[in-house]
């Protein structure tokens, strides 16, 4: 008799991209944290783009870019599946070219992101809530750091 762990491993190896259930073949519904993971990766890209546009901001923005990337990585780990294929994310861009405009753009992106993380925290099961709380709090500190 196969152990459950072996079945899961086989299923994962056979259909790694579609995430089909072993027995009924239906695709698994997307994880509710997918949008937050995509948003974290997008924010990391925006900060990197801002640093590329104004290198004087590098010291200030690099730790925040790294934090968003760490959030994206941790959310991906908790979701336990690779990012869904077939929906390539739009490249993260910034339009401003001078520091004040770039900081304003980043503030505008962080504000709704902070609210999204707080909503996810409110709706999450107990095992995910501490991570989501830290991400919501981190985004609030980013807004402070952008002042």
């Amino acid at each position: 008799m196969l152990r459950a762990g072996a079945l899961v491993a086989l299923g994962g190896a056979a259909v790694p991209l579609t995430g089909c259930d072993l027995f009924d073949g239906k695709p698994k519904p997307p994880d509710p944290l997918e949008p937050l993971a995509a948003e974290a990766a997008d924010l990391a890209g925006r900060y990197r783009a801002a640093i590329g546009a104004a290198s004087t901001l590098a010291d200030r923005l690099t730790p925040i870019a790294d934090a968003h990337q760490a959030h994206a990585d941790e959310l991906r780990r908790v979701i336990g599946r690779p990012a869904p294929s077939g929906t390539p994310a739009a490249p993260s861009t910034v339009t401003a070219t001078e520091p004040d405009g770039l900081l304003a753009e980043l503030r505008k992106a962080e504000q709704p992101a902070r609210e999204n993380a707080a909503k996810a925290c409110a709706a999450a099961p107990a095992e995910r809530v501490a991570l989501l709380g830290s991400i919501a709090a981190a985004r609030a500190t980013h807004l402070e750091a952008l002042k």
Binding site: P63, A118, V129, A137
Partner: protein, 149 residues
């Protein structure tokens, strides 16, 4: 100050958060006298915020029938607080510690209690960021507020 361990249930999680709030209120008394100007005002305002959290927690624990731990008469400082630098260092640490307890309380909460715990965690994280900036510590943010490094 004792090291933080994972709470065993909702009552314990909130009691731990209350103990951290008591300690923060006491610490700000020590911190405030070493600061001047805007920093002293910020310390007073932080102390008031921790008092509000303390009062809300006492009500919450009372309502749930849980044991409400009493405040201590005094606390042992981790190092002497004799000047602005040591006061700011303690302010950062006290906020990080309170953030840790509120984060640990989150999995034991639902609904309005969870929103309150998240607001408390967020406020502590933002104050820690402001104190780091005042102290000239960089970076002024941490990736996962409330999580032990």
């Amino acid at each position: 100050m004792t090291p933080r361990t994972a709470p065993t249930g909702p009552g314990q999680a909130l009691a731990d958060a209350l103990a951290a709030e008591y300690a923060a209120i006491w610490a700000y008394g020590v911190i405030g006298v070493r600061l001047t100007g805007a920093a002293r005002t910020a310390a007073r305002s932080a102390e008031a915020a921790h008092r509000s959290r303390r009062d809300a927690l006492i009500l919450q624990l009372n309502d749930s029938g849980a044991q409400v731990p009493a405040d201590q008469a005094g606390y042992a400082l981790p190092y002497p607080v004799t000047d602005k630098a040591s006061a700011l260092k303690l302010a950062v640490e006290i906020e990080e510690r309170a953030a840790g307890h509120w984060r640990a309380a989150l999995p034991h909460t639902t609904g309005a209690d969870r929103n309150q715990a998240l607001a408390a965690l967020t406020d502590c994280a933002v104050r820690a960021t402001r104190w780091r900036r005042t102290a000239g510590v960089t970076p002024i943010t941490v990736p996962f507020p409330g999580r032990s490094a």
